[in-house]
Amino acid sequence: MSMTLEQSEQRKAWGFVAPALAWTLAFFVVPFLFMVAMSLWSRQSGAIVRAWNLDNYLAFFEKAALFKGLVNSLEITLIVTVLSVVLAYPLAWIIAERVPKRFQRMALIMAVLPFWTSYVVRSYSWLLVLSKNGVVNQTLMTVGLVGEPLELASNRTATVIGFTHFFVMLLTLTIYANLIQLSPNYRRAAADLGANAFETFWHVIVPLTLPGIMTGAFLTFVLCIGDYVTPQILGGNNELVLPQIIMLQLGRRADFPMAAALSIILMLAVTLAYVLCARWLKIERA
């Protein structure tokens, strides 16, 4: 019996999708299921015991230091995300609206130039900038604004500065991409209807660029909450975020079950953020 056109199309479609599906299954679904299984095992007397239990998840809620890791991660991530949006939006707007077309590409390159530096080197550079004898303190003391060096490094402020520097670049790109797609007719229509510049910006431009903001904010959230390097270098270990606690489980004790449980919890936090963003943007209707 000959194949119908619809069947043939379906087969073709599966052929196109199959490699990506196989890749996702092999390198995400299967490892993820293994990680879930691992999180339900435990490490006892130096060996991994493959008996199902919720001990690792219970320990997360019982041990204040572990739970605080998630709280710290969420707090820092939210602060960084909000700060990055607040700083990136004006930058993207200036590049899209105020910089002449022929210079926009150059302006964007300048904005994302720090991306080209190694992430680790950039974090250590911030440490040198913010340290007691760093550029900021030396400048403040030279001009007489402070008598003693400020404590700018090895704390949450330093971590937030390091993160924000990185993510402002990312958000600038996503917001700029959104801004340049807006037709000038929106502004003209708003003006015709009597809106002033601020009202046009607030009631027309901002809502229309929300997808760009939210896409960038979500990426910032995901990358920031999972990052281990910046808090390790700039935070001075004066508080731990969850990825640092995960690394601590592995370094000496190789406690993979606990590390897996903490990783699942981290993934749940990211999933929750995605659900919140997706609902707000009504992505499901797209």
């Binding site: 006892q44 250590y124 440490l127 270098i233 270990n237 508080e239």
Partner: protein, 373 residues
């Protein structure tokens, strides 16, 4: 010890240190078994030897003489933390690895997992090794030798002698006093640090138990209150060298020895109460298909020539275990290593704690609690 610092002068070495640290972190994170970082090798090497090592073994100045002498290519992968090493081994095929460098306190862990081969006692220069670091209890089991100590040093007090009173550094209780509040960095590795706190409380590291944990936890909390940061090797070294802090608790010759030329203001000492001693061991993998060649490599590393090169490796400097290595070190190198003070230091120091898995968990929890305060 999990990882040691750079051994070159500060300014020039730091970028390299950062890069290596990044590679080490990436390696620990991905635990990608089998991805070697080969060092320079002879063009027509016949055989290959795979060694899972600490970063000091990746110095070509150490490896190349062995490769040339034996016409062999040595593939080296450095790792951070015994946990990472065991994970790599678990994910490898038997026979993938020929040589293992491991924390001296974890040799029995590897022996318990049946990872190490017995080494004939007469194949090692045991008589030449400093008696205090032969560590038979660690390197042997049931009278059989499974590893040999190759290098050692101290987790003690490093400081800037132009900014603190060196006399204060002789008292270990300084680490939780207010005198240097905000000027102290704590080395971020709980085993030696808890060992140091134990010594400050008058406890022997080998005798630390559950019963000591409340007092240790209290002192850890006090230490955190007076410290500026808790940091890894590179960050600690940077903080001390740039003047961000004046004291590094848990530091030692491996932090300051190689900086002695460029940063003569940095010094280290062993306090009156003593300090914690670390040691690294080397052994042949039981599943290795090249037992003879692997043993030859171990013998080279513990030979006087190999020991001198290992002691002054580009990654970090520390004392060689073989007393005869002194014949191959310059006077300046010996001075930086405090060669002539070793008898006194060895007498005053104790190997860092080797807790049971349960006590280890409690120590790690106490350390995590401290950092979250």
């Amino acid at each position: 010890m999990s990882v040691k610092p750079e051994g070159n002068v500060m300014t020039s070495s730091m970028k390299g240190a950062f890069a290596r640290r990044f590679l080490a972190s990436a390696a620990a994170t991905s635990i990608a078994a089998g991805s070697f970082f080969p060092v320079a090798t002879p063009a027509f090497a016949q055989e290959e030897l795979n060694a899972l090592v600490w970063c000091d073994h990746t110095d070509p100045a150490l490896i190349e003489p062995f490769e040339k002498a034996n016409d062999v290519k040595v593939n080296l992968k450095d790792y951070e933390g015994t946990g990472a090493a065991l994970s790599i081994l678990e994910q490898s095929q038997p026979g993938d690895w020929d040589v293992l460098v491991i924390d001296g306190v974890d040799v029995q862990r590897a022996v318990g997992l049946d990872l190490l081969a017995e080494i004939p006692a007469d194949a090692l220069p045991t008589a030449d090794i400093f008696p205090e670091v032969r560590m038979e209890a660690n390197n042997t089991k049931d009278g059989k030798t499974y590893a040999v100590t190759e290098k050692f040093g101290y987790n003690t007090i490093s400081y800037d002698k132009t900014k603190v009173d060196p006399k204060d550094m002789q008292d270990l209780t300084m680490i939780w006093s207010d005198k240097y509040k905000g000027r102290i960095a704590l080395y971020d590795y709980y085993l030696p640090m808890i060992g140091l706190v134990g010594l400050g409380l008058g406890k022997k590291t080998a005798e630390l138990s559950d019963a000591d944990m409340p007092a240790i936890t209290e002192k850890l909390s006090a230490m955190k209150k007076v410290s500026k940061q808790v940091s890894d090797v590179v960050s600690s070294q940077t903080a001390l060298a740039t003047g961000e802090v004046d004291i590094l608790v848990g530091g030692g010759e491996w932090i300051t020895a190689a900086l002695s030329g460029e940063k003569p203001n940095l010094d280290w000492t062993v306090p009156d109460q003593g300090a914690v001693r670390w040691a690294q061991s080397i052994g042949v993998m039981k599943a290795s298909k090249k037992q003879d060649l692997a043993l030859k490599f171990v013998q080279y590393i513990v030979s006087p020539e190999g020991q001198a090169r290992l002691a002054t490796s580009s990654c970090y400097w520390a004392m060689p275990a073989n007393t005869k290595a002194g014949d191959h070190l310059t006077d300046a190198q010996k001075t930086a290593l405090r060669w002539n003070d070793q008898a006194e230091y060895l007498k005053k120091t104790q190997l860092y704690p080797i807790p049971s898995a349960e006590l280890d968990q409690k120590m790690q929890d106490a350390w995590t609690d401290m950092m979250q305060q």
